[in-house]
């Protein structure tokens, strides 16, 4: 299995689009590219499982390593482990659904798909990077697509939202950059490197870890809506076009969580221990605050954006708990939230496409006219409030169990607070869906059509992912075990 294929397909598809003229061909090419990519990632998953059953146990599989900037000992070093494969599977599902859902975008189709695929290219590259510069490169490569997707195809107060998002993420990147430099210079001069695996094996002094950890965690935290750096999330998500919101919440926010775990916690375990309590406090605030803020939202997209803050809080809470179960829960929550929120945004987009409103109070009885879309909304909502059988339950339950493994009152209190948010989630989800789906139908909505084939496909892809995770969580759990174990080993080592 050559990882360069997985990196190359989105890029080549994007470049191929540039020479095409007919919008129809552009859509099809993007779809075939996304399908091929999903196939490649599944193949990668199978190849990885085979390698593992054969007894291989490296920190990174299918590695490739080329010298890049040899003066600084920077390498083009890629490789995957279970966790990155899980994230890449998520990316592939969301990209496929995003491409499908955007089928009826009319304005500047070529540029739209080009930017979507460029964004996914950045995500794939990020998840397979084994070198800090490369990781940072792929993290930032998505800034342009995100900004333009919102500023050009967005709605509402789009310029403000696009600016806010780009600037806040750039600020987060700046912190990450300084953190990377800190790691580089904190190692002895003859061992300086940007290589993640190499750095993981040579522990930095606790003093430097204490300085660098907040920079890295804070920087990645901005991407993952760490309180109080979450303010770009509601504006950015609600102004973005449908696929843009799906990519932002489903992929882009996961870059932050992955970075917090795979870079900050893995490379700076001592720092992680020092700041664990603060991380827990902040993420508990985010969970509860996000949930309560969702309660008062009148706009479906804002509602889902605020609930994303709450749900991403579980990711950071799991990371802050520093137990293996909680780590597993954090990764599961990333995948689960990615699928669920992408479905949510997709369905909101479908409904908005027809009703031309996103205000909850103006809708009603839509189940009668668009049964498919509203059923999908139900499924997304039920996953969001943690119904067993869907992905959300598995992930959040694992985080709670991981948190409860601690005996002390602080961790248990934080876990209980986080649990409480589920009740609030149930309130806002059920209320919103009840309003949208049930009741008498408004006159002007009575003649609306149900969703088209491409929208159905998009929803089916995401629901399939959610069911696969909710009904049989074992395979995903086993996939990410070795990665979280690797981080636990570093935490345990003194």
């Amino acid at each position: 299995m050559n990882l360069l294929y997985i990196l190359g397909i989105p890029l080549l598809t994007a470049l191929l689009l540039l020479v095409m003229r007919s919008p129809d061909w552009i859509r099809r090419t993007a779809l075939y590219g996304a399908l091929l990519q999903l196939g490649m990632v599944v193949w990668l998953f199978i190849a990885y499982q085979q390698q593992r059953t054969m007894g291989y146990a490296m920190a990174a599989f299918f590695e490739q390593n080329y010298a890049w900037f040899s003066v600084w000992n920077i390498h083009f070093h890629i490789g995957v482990d279970g966790m990155s494969i899980a994230m890449m599977l998520l990316t592939a599902f969301v990209v496929l659904a995003g491409v499908l859902v955007s089928w009826n975008v009319q304005r500047m189709v070529k540029e739209y798909y080009f930017l979507l695929l460029l964004l996914s290219f950045g995500a794939y590259g990020f998840f397979m990077s084994q070198d800090l510069l490369l990781l940072f490169f792929f993290l930032e490569i998505a800034v342009i697509p995100k900004y333009l997707l919102i500023a050009v195809w967005g709605s509402g107060n789009k310029n403000y939202s696009a600016n806010k998002l780009a600037l806040m993420l750039m600020g987060g990147s700046a912190l990450i950059f300084v953190g990377i430099l800190g790691i580089f210079y904190a190692t002895p001069a003859d061992q300086r490197s940007f290589d993640i695996l190499q750095l993981a094996n040579q522990q930095l002094g606790p003093g430097s870890q204490k300085i660098i950890y907040p920079l890295l965690f804070g920087g990645f935290g901005v991407f993952s809506a760490l309180f109080p750096f979450h303010t770009w999330v509601p504006d950015g998500h609600s102004s973005a076009p449908t696929a843009g919101s799906m990519f932002l919440a489903g992929i882009s926010m996961k870059l932050g969580g992955y970075g917090c775990l795979k870079v900050a916690t893995l490379l700076l375990p001592e720092g992680a221990k020092v700041y664990a309590d603060l991380v827990i406090a902040l993420s508990a605030i985010a969970i509860l605050y996000g949930a309560f803020a969702t309660l008062i939202q009148k706009d479906l997209k804002y509602m889902n954006a605020y609930s994303s803050i709450s749900h991403c809080g579980f990711v950071l809470l799991g990371i802050g708990m520093l137990t293996k179960t909680a780590f597993n829960g954090a990764v599961l929550q990333m995948v689960s939230h990615g699928l669920m929120t992408a479905l949510f945004f997709a369905v909101i987009g479908m409904i908005y496409e027809r009703t031309h409103t996103r205000t909850i109070a103006e809708m009603g009885g839509l189940l009668k006219v668009m049964p498919f879309a509203v059923t999908a909304l139900f499924i997304a909502g039920l996953a969001s409030l943690g119904l067993p059988g869907l992905s959300g339950f598995v992930a959040e339950m694992t985080v709670f169990v991981g948190g409860w493994e601690h005996q002390d009152i602080y961790h248990r209190a934080a876990t209980v607070i986080a649990c409480m948010s589920i009740v609030v989630t149930a309130v806002y989800i059920l209320r919103a869906i009840g309003q949208v789906a049930m009741g008498p139908i408004k006159e002007n909505f009575a003649s609306l059509q149900d969703v088209a084939w491409y929208e159905k496909m998009a929803a089916v892809v995401l629901i399939a992912g959610m069911l696969a995770m909710g009904l049989a969580p074992q395979w995903l759990n086993e996939l990410i075990q070795p990665s979280t174990q690797f981080i636990m080993d570093k935490l345990a080592a003194k």
Binding site: F69, W72, I141, V152, G171, L175, G182
Partner: protein, 466 residues
């Protein structure tokens, strides 16, 4: 007979040759502007190619002039900058009545920069700096019918006369205190704790800061940039700045090496202030030239932080950054020139809806601005990354944090241009791009995309530096 001096001076000699050829053409029957520009471009390309072969290391004229492969590469960057400038500003140049004079002035300034880079002695440095400055002031005055152009030339000549005075004062003090002004002899004579030596260091740095428009010597920049014709603005902000940055490294890394404990702090602090002030002022500009002027002030701040590293890596990063900066800034100025030639407007607010009918121009401008802002996959990302990585060598985290957060500020005003261009509410008419300009812009885009990802370019510069 020994011909080594020809090899050492090849670049300077060839530039002089171009100047002579242009003067002869002017003396003779004259020539159409188009052919004149083609000849100049061709000769510049030959000069550029010469920089990569027959390299000699050594001294000439009693250590006054030093040739090395690294200096050759630095000169090549400047020549490439001038070549690209001529390409992208083809429309403006072709309309000039006094084109040969303009080209002679520009190449004289280039000649001054070339000898400045190679100078091994402060006297030589001073002479070259004057040669590199005075013609530019004449060039700034080239829009003869515009009052602002004369104003720009006046401001430029006054401020550079002042800075030359300060430089001369610094050199005199240095000579009085140590008895030598040779870069080779100075390191033995200089002491870090001598007040007179410190004073001369500060004065010489102030003169360089004037040329680089580092804060607090930046005030002339915006007015001069706005008033001058577009090619002159681009020349000032790209080639001129690059040359002075190179000279700053070669004087500070060699002559003032014993005092580095003092100057690295000076450079770092001035660099940081320069970034902040440049960014804050750039936010408010609506004229694209003024905006790029202030953004170039901010970029200089990053260069100063890179130089403050006082390491081979710092020097390599500075050269690499200037190379990238040449491509990015000339592309931005080139697009602005094409738009100004057609619509007559230099206002950012007039860029609204450019994308509708000018896809190529918009993408080139966007790429150039993203490169200036330091966003991948453009080369600017790598340029800034290595400058700051080199500058962080003493683990001054506060410095790197403030500098990195300033990249966020700079993104704001670059994005403002991008946002205006991609605005879909209005639509600009199609703007024709002449073939030559297109070639220049394509070369710049290739530079922006390749220089970063191709790590061997950085490795090559670092190798030259060894």
């Amino acid at each position: 007979m020994n011909y080594d001096w020809i090899i050492g001076l090849k670049s300077e000699l060839f530039t002089t040759l171009i100047i002579v050829v242009l003067l002869l053409i002017k003396l003779g029957k004259g020539m159409r502007n188009g052919s004149l520009l083609q000849i100049t471009q061709l000769l510049l390309l030959v000069n550029l190619a010469l920089a990569f072969g027959w390299n000699g290391n050594g001294y000439l004229f009693g250590n006054m002039f030093q040739a090395s492969q690294l200096f050759g590469f630095e000169k090549a960057i400047l020549i490439a900058g001038v070549y690209l400038l001529i390409l992208v500003n083809h429309q403006w140049l072709e309309k000039q009545e006094h084109l040969p004079e303009f080209l002679v002035l520009m190449l004289s300034a280039l000649l001054g920069m070339q000898t400045m880079i190679s100078s091994g002695n402060f006297l030589m440095l001073y002479l070259s700096l004057e040669l590199a400055t005075i013609p530019v002031a004449a060039m700034a005055n080239f829009d003869l019918d515009k009052k602002r152009s004369s104003e720009a030339a006046m401001k430029m000549i006054l401020s550079s006369a002042l800075s030359s005075g300060i430089l001369l004062m610094g050199i005199s003090l240095l000579y009085g205190a140590t008895g030598t002004i040779s870069f080779e002899a100075l390191p033995q004579a200089l002491k870090a704790d001598n007040g007179l030596h410190l004073l001369s260091l500060v004065m010489i740095f102030a003169a360089f800061a004037f040329k680089l428009s580092a804060v607090p010597f930046h005030l002339w920049t915006a007015d001069v940039y706005e008033g001058s014709p577009m090619p002159v603005t681009a020349f000032l902000s790209v080639v001129s700045k690059g040359a002075v940055a190179f000279v700053l490294t070669s004087t500070f890394y060699r002559a003032f090496q014993p005092m580095f404990e003092t100057w690295y702090q000076l450079l770092a602090i001035i660099g940081l202030i320069t970034i902040i002030i440049g960014n804050l002022f750039a936010i408010r500009q609506d004229n694209i030239k003024r905006m790029l002027a202030f953004s170039s002030i901010a970029q200089v701040g990053f260069v100063l932080i890179g130089i403050s590293a006082n390491s081979p890596a710092g020097l390599a990063s500075v050269i690499y950054f200037v190379l990238i900066y040449v491509f990015s800034n000339i592309a931005a100025f080139g697009v602005a020139a094409v738009i100004a030639a057609q619509t007559g407007s230099e206002q950012i607010s007039d860029y609204k809806g450019l994308y509708a009918n000018n896809k190529l121009l918009t993408w080139i401008m966007a790429l150039a601005l993203f490169s200036l802002a330091g966003i991948p996959p453009t080369a600017g990302f790598f340029g800034k990354f290595f400058l700051l990585t080199a500058g962080a060598v003493r683990a001054d985290f506060w410095l790197v944090i403030i500098a990195a957060l300033n990249m966020m500020v700079s993104l704001y005003y670059y994005l403002r241009v991008v946002r205006n261009m991609f605005n879909t509410e209005t639509a600009q008419p199609t703007i024709a791009i002449p073939v030559t300009v297109k070639l220049g812009l394509y070369l710049c885009v290739a530079g922006i995309l390749i220089t970063g990802i191709a790590g061997w370019i950085y490795d090559y510069i670092a190798m030259l530096n060894r």
